[in-house]
C-alpha cells in the first residue's frame, strides 16, 4: 500500500490541472489514468471553441504539468475500488496498485453518447453517418472525406443526439454541442470551401462568451445554413449518399435532403468510471453524474470528508469551465489537508 496526500482519479484536463495545482502547493499527488494516454477527451480535439485555439497547445501544456516533481502518474490504471478506511481513502486499480491517502479527487469525466441507440440515424449502419468526435479526427488529419474517399459535397450536422431526448432517457442539455457544431462547420468550410454545410437543431443555445458572435459569423462569413428540425430518419440513396428526413419546423413542412456526411453531435453522459465510483462511494446523482454538497457554495466537496469532485464527472462543462473547476478543487483540497495537519 502506497501513501500519498491526494489520489486524483482521471488524467484528463480536470485531473491534470488539479494535480498540478496541488503539486505546486507541495502535496504528494498520485494521478491515475485508465487509458494508455492521458488527456481524456482532449486527446481527439482539433481546435477549441470559441477562439479556435489549437488543442495540441493545450495538450502540451497539460503534459508539461504532469511532469511536476510532486506528481506520480500511473497510466493503464483503471480504478476498481474506492473505499473509506478509518480517516483515509483507499484507491485500488485494475493493475494491482493500491493507494491510501487522506483525500481523493474524482475527475473521471464523461463519455459520449453511443449513437447506435438512435438506430434511425443509421450510425453503425451507413458509412456516411459519423459522430462529432470522428469528424474532429478527420479535421485533425485534414482529410474530410466520405467512406469511398471522395470529397463530400454536402455535410449535415445534427444537434442533440442523446441530449434533450426523452426516448433515450436523457432530458438534459449537454451544453457544448451547439457551439461545437458551429465550430465544426466553420472548420469544415475552412478546409473545404466548396462544401455545403447544414446544421439541424431544436434550439441554438449560444450562452457562452463570443458564442453568439461565432454563430453569426458562421452564417455571414462561412455560409453555414441552420434548419430548425430534428432529423427523424436516414436512408441510403441509389448513389450511396444519404437521404435525411425531418420537419422544418419554422416553415412547417417536411424536408428531405441528400447529404454525403451526416455528423451526429453526440451528447455528454457520465463516464462508466464516474457512474461506478459514484455508486461505490455514494455520491451518485441524476443521470449517474456525481453530486457535490452544494452547487453554489461547495461544488467540489461531497458529503464524504476528503472525497472531492472536479470537472465533467459532475455535469457537462466546457474546457475553460473544467479547468477553473479543477483549480477550485485543488484549493479546497489544499485547505482540507492543511486543516488535518493542524
Amino acid at each position: 500500500m502506497n501513501k500519498a496526500d491526494v489520489v486524483v482519479i482521471g488524467g484528463g484536463p480536470a485531473g491534470i490541472e488539479a494535480a498540478y495545482n496541488l503539486a505546486r502547493d507541495n502535496h504528494k499527488v498520485v494521478l491515475v489514468e485508465k487509458e494508455k494516454e492521458i488527456f481524456g477527451h482532449m486527446q481527439t480535439a482539433y481546435t477549441l471553441f470559441p477562439n479556435f485555439q489549437d488543442a495540441s497547445e493545450i495538450r502540451s501544456s497539460l503534459l508539461q504539468k504532469t511532469k511536476h516533481g510532486n506528481i506520480t502518474l500511473y497510466n493503464n490504471s483503471e480504478v476498481t475500488q474506492v473505499s473509506r478506511e478509518n480517516d483515509f481513502w483507499r484507491v485500488q486499480t485494475i493493475n494491482g496498485l493500491d493507494f491510501i491517502a487522506p483525500a481523493v479527487l474524482l475527475a473521471s469525466g464523461f463519455k459520449t453518447f453511443d449513437a447506435r441507440y438512435k438506430e434511425e440515424l443509421g450510425y453503425g449502419i451507413y458509412k456516411g453517418v459519423i459522430t462529432s468526435v470522428e469528424f474532429e479526427e478527420m479535421l485533425k488529419v485534414g482529410k474530410i472525406q466520405t467512406a469511398n474517399g471522395e470529397k463530400p459535397r454536402r455535410i449535415a450536422f445534427l444537434n442533440c443526439v442523446g441530449s434533450r431526448d426523452e426516448k433515450v432517457g436523457n432530458h438534459y442539455c449537454s451544453r457544448v454541442c451547439c457551439i461545437n457544431a458551429v465550430k465544426l462547420s466553420i472548420e469544415a468550410k475552412k478546409q473545404l470551401p466548396e462544401v455545403e454545410a447544414y446544421c439541424f437543431y431544436m434550439d441554438i443555445r449560444m450562452s457562452g462568451q463570443f458564442y453568439e458572435e461565432l454563430y453569426r459569423k458562421s452564417q455571414e462569413d462561412f455560409d453555414v445554413n441552420y434548419i430548425r428540425g430534428r432529423i427523424s430518419e436516414v436512408a441510403p440513396t441509389i448513389d450511396n449518399r444519404l437521404q435525411v428526413k425531418c420537419e422544418d419546423t419554422l416553415s412547417q413542412t417536411p424536408l428531405k435532403m441528400t447529404v454525403d456526411l451526416l455528423v451526429l453531435m453526440i451528447g455528454i453522459e457520465a463516464s462508466e468510471g464516474t457512474a461506478r465510483i459514484g455508486e461505490q462511494v455514494g455520491v451518485n446523482g441524476e443521470y449517474n453524474f456525481s453530486k457535490s454538497i452544494s452547487l453554489h457554495t461547495a461544488d467540489n466537496k461531497t458529503k464524504h470528508q476528503g472525497f472531492f469532485l472536479a470537472g465533467t464527472c459532475k455535469r457537462p462543462l466546457t474546457v475553460p469551465e473544467t479547468m477553473a473547476d479543477a483549480r477550485a478543487a485543488a484549493l479546497e483540497i489544499d485547505l482540507y489537508l492543511k486543516s488535518l495537519s493542524q
Binding site: 449502419i125 451507413y126 427523424s232 430518419e233 417536411p254
Partner: protein, 604 residues
C-alpha cells in the same frame, strides 16, 4: 297458512330486483347496434344457443375459468353461485312437494323450515332436508373463503384485490349476513321443532332452549331483511354481473362483435364484470410500475357508473394481458378503445402535404416496412437481403415516402383520421394487383388485417420468412447462438402469431422464458399509452428485460421494431429483430436453382 309478515321484505326486494334487471336487459338489448341485432336474429334458434347454455352452466354457475386459474378462488365462486342456485332449486322442489302444488307462494321455499315445522312428512322430505343442509354448509365454506380473501387476499394467491364502491360494500355486507342468518334461523326453528337436517339440528342443539322461542322470529326477520338489502343493492353493485353474465354469454355465442362505437353490448360487458381483480395482477402497470388504480376492473367500474377520468381511459398499454386473463372473457382492450374513440372531432386529414405514391405494377410481393421499421433500418436492410436471397420480385412500397397505416391514430381514438390513411394506402396497395403484402411491423400488420379491405393476403415477415424457409427458398446456416424470443403484443395476443417465429428460431438454440406466448410482457414502448411517465415506461421495460434475459441468452429476438427499440436501450442483451438474425445466417445458394424452383412454389 304459509304466511308471516317477515316475508314482506324478501318479496318486495325480489320484485324490485326482477323489475330493475329486466328493465336493464330490455334497454341494453334495444341499444345493440344493427350488426349485433342481426347476429342475434341469425343465431338465436341455432345450435349456438345450446352451446351458450352449456357455457352459462360452466361459467356463471360453476366458474370453471376461475377454477382453472386459481382452484381456491374457483371453489369460492362455485360454492356461492352454484350452491345458492341449487339451494333455490332444491328449496323450490321441496316447497312444491310439501305444498302439493307447483304454484305455492314464492317465499315458501326460502323460509321453508319456519312454515314446515311438521318435519319431513312428505315424499323425499328426509333426503331433501339433508341436501339443503349440505348445500348451506358448502355456501358457508365459500363465504368463509370470501371473508379471508377480503381480509388477506394473499392467502388465496392474489397479490391485489379490488377496492370497492359503497354499493358494493352494502351488497357485500348483506351477502355475508344472509347465510349465517339463514343457518341461525333454521337452527333455532330446528331446536324448537326438530325439523332440521344434520347441520341445522346440530347447531339447534347448541342454542339454549330458554332463548330459542324469543330468538326465532327476530332471526327470520333479519334473514328476510338481509335478502331485501342484497336484492335492492344488487342492480347497482358488482353483483349485477350475476344476471348480466348470462346475457353476455348468449350474445357472445350468437356472434356479437364489440365494434367501434359504444352500444348495448358495451353496457352488457361493463355490467358483467364481477370485479374479481384478476386483471390487476395481470397488469404490468401494477406489478412493474406500481400504478394500481387504472386497471381494467376500475376502468369498467368507472365506465359503468359514468365517472370515467381521462387518466383511467388513457393510461393503458393496450397490451391485452388483462383480456387474456379475464375469467368472464370481457374484451377489455376493445371496450377501452371504444371509450377512446373521439366522436366530435371532424375527420381532418393531416397528411395533405404527402406526395402521392405511384403504385408499381407487375410485382409479386409488396413490402411495406412501416414507420417504426424506418426507425430501425437494420430490419429494412435484412428484409432486402432476404427478398434478394429468395429471388422475390418485390416492390418496397414505402421506401422513399409513404403514410402511416393508421393504427396509432386509431388507438388514440382518431378514427376518422385513421380511416383517411386507410383509404390512401388501400388505393396504392390494391391498384398494384400484387399477390402478397408483407410488413415488418406488427402494428401495421394488425391494421392491414383488421381495418383494410385489400385484394391480397397480408403477412408479417415472421410468417413470410417461415414460409420461405419451409419451401427451401432460403436456408440458414446451423447456429449455436442462444436466443430467447419476445412475443410482441400486437403479433402474439393481437394476431395469434406464436408458432411461426419459433419455427424459424429452431435453427438457433432457443431458450424458453417464463413469459411466453399469451403470457408475454409488453416492452413498455407501446404507442397506445400516450400519457405514461417515461420513468415508469422504463421500469416496465427493465422488468420485462430482466425476465427475458434471466437465462442469459446471447441474443434477445423479437419481431417488432418498437420492441426492439425499447429493449436496445435497456442494455441487457444483444437485441435483434427476427429478420436480422435470419439475414445474418443466410446460406447463399446459387440463384439458378432458385429460379427453377420458383415455378412450383406457393409463395410468390
Amino acid at each position: 297458512m304459509n304466511y308471516h309478515p317477515f316475508v314482506i321484505p324478501f318479496t318486495v326486494g325480489a320484485l324490485f330486483l326482477f323489475g330493475v334487471v329486466f328493465y336493464k336487459f330490455y334497454a341494453w338489448i334495444a341499444a345493440l347496434d344493427r350488426k349485433q341485432k342481426f347476429m342475434v336474429k341469425q343465431n338465436i334458434f341455432s345450435f349456438k344457443t345450446i352451446r351458450a347454455i352449456g357455457e352459462i352452466f360452466r361459467e356463471a354457475l360453476v366458474h370453471h375459468n376461475i377454477y382453472k386459474k386459481n382452484p381456491v378462488l374457483g371453489y369460492m365462486h362455485m360454492s356461492l353461485a352454484f350452491g345458492w342456485f341449487l339451494l333455490i332449486v332444491v328449496g323450490k322442489i321441496k316447497a312444491s312437494l310439501y305444498a302439493g302444488t307447483f304454484f305455492e307462494p314464492p317465499w315458501l321455499g326460502i323460509f321453508f323450515n319456519f312454515f314446515a315445522v311438521d318435519g319431513h312428512a312428505f315424499s323425499y322430505g328426509e333426503m331433501l332436508t339433508f341436501t339443503m343442509d349440505f348445500l348451506l354448509l358448502i355456501i358457508l365454506s365459500g363465504l368463509a373463503l370470501a371473508i379471508i380473501k377480503r381480509v388477506k387476499s394473499s392467502l388465496l394467491g392474489m397479490r391485489k384485490t379490488t377496492k370497492h364502491s359503497r354499493f358494493d360494500r352494502i351488497a357485500l355486507s348483506s351477502l355475508w349476513f344472509i347465510f349465517p342468518l339463514r343457518l341461525m334461523a333454521e337452527s333455532t326453528t330446528a331446536s324448537l321443532h326438530g325439523n332440521g337436517g344434520f347441520l341445522t339440528n346440530s347447531v339447534g342443539h347448541l342454542i339454549p332452549s330458554a332463548i330459542a322461542p324469543y330468538a326465532e322470529l327476530p332471526l327470520w326477520w333479519a334473514y328476510s331483511i338481509s335478502l331485501f338489502v342484497f336484492f335492492v343493492a344488487l342492480p347497482y353493485s358488482r353483483y349485477m354481473h350475476i344476471p348480466t353474465e348470462v346475457v353476455l354469454i348468449l350474445l357472445r355465442n350468437w356472434g356479437a362483435d364489440t365494434g367501434e362505437q359504444l352500444s348495448g353490448y358495451t353496457d352488457i360487458q361493463l355490467n358483467s364484470c364481477s370485479r374479481c381483480g384478476i386483471c390487476i395482477d395481470a397488469c404490468q402497470l401494477n406489478f412493474a410500475a406500481g400504478i394500481s388504480d387504472v386497471q381494467s376492473v376500475y376502468f369498467v367500474r368507472d365506465a359503468r357508473y359514468k365517472t370515467l377520468s381521462d387518466e383511467v381511459v388513457n393510461n393503458c398499454l393496450m397490451c391485452g394481458r388483462c383480456s387474456n386473463e379475464c375469467p368472464v372473457g370481457l374484451e377489455l382492450t376493445l371496450v377501452r378503445q371504444q371509450f377512446r374513440n373521439k366522436q366530435e372531432i371532424p375527420g381532418k386529414f393531416y397528411y395533405e402535404y404527402t406526395e402521392p405514391v405511384e403504385s408499381k405494377a407487375g410485382v409479386d410481393v409488396i413490402y411495406y416496412a412501416g414507420c417504426m421499421t424506418h426507425l430501425t433500418p437494420s430490419i429494412i436492410i435484412s428484409m432486402k437481403k432476404i427478398f434478394e436471397a429468395a429471388g422475390v420480385n418485390y416492390w418496397f412500397m414505402d421506401e422513399d415516402k409513404g403514410v402511416c397505416c393508421g393504427r396509432p391514430l386509431r388507438q388514440q381514438g382518431f378514427i376518422q383520421q385513421s380511416k383517411n390513411l386507410v383509404i390512401k394506402n388501400s388505393r396504392i396497395i390494391n391498384s398494384a394487383r400484387a399477390k402478397l403484402l408483407v410488413t415488418s411491423c406488427p402494428i401495421c400488420y394488425k391494421s392491414f388485417r383488421e381495418e383494410y379491405n385489400l385484394n391480397l393476403p397480408v403477412m408479417h415477415h415472421t410468417e413470410y420468412i417461415e414460409g420461405l424457409l419451409a419451401d427451401g427458398r432460403i436456408t440458414l446456416n446451423a447456429s449455436n447462438v442462444t436466443v430467447v424470443y419476445h412475443d410482441p403484443c400486437e403479433l402474439g395476443r393481437g394476431a395469434n402469431i406464436y408458432e411461426q417465429p419459433r419455427n424459424i428460431l429452431r435453427n438457433f438454440s432457443l431458450i424458453e422464458s417464463d413469459y411466453e406466448k399469451e403470457n408475454s410482457l409488453c416492452c413498455g414502448g407501446s404507442l397506445s399509452d400516450a400519457i405514461l411517465d417515461l420513468r415508469l415506461q422504463l421500469k416496465i421495460r427493465d422488468h420485462a428485460l430482466g425476465e427475458l434475459t434471466k437465462d442469459k441468452p446471447e441474443v434477445l429476438v423479437t419481431a417488432c421494431p418498437l420492441c426492439k427499440k425499447s429493449f436496445v436501450h435497456g442494455n441487457k442483451a444483444r437485441v435483434m429483430d427476427i429478420a436480422e438474425i435470419v439475414a445474418g445466417n443466410l446460406k447463399v445458394i446459387a440463384r439458378k436453382k432458385q429460379s427453377v424452383r420458383k415455378e412450383e412454389l406457393q409463395l410468390v
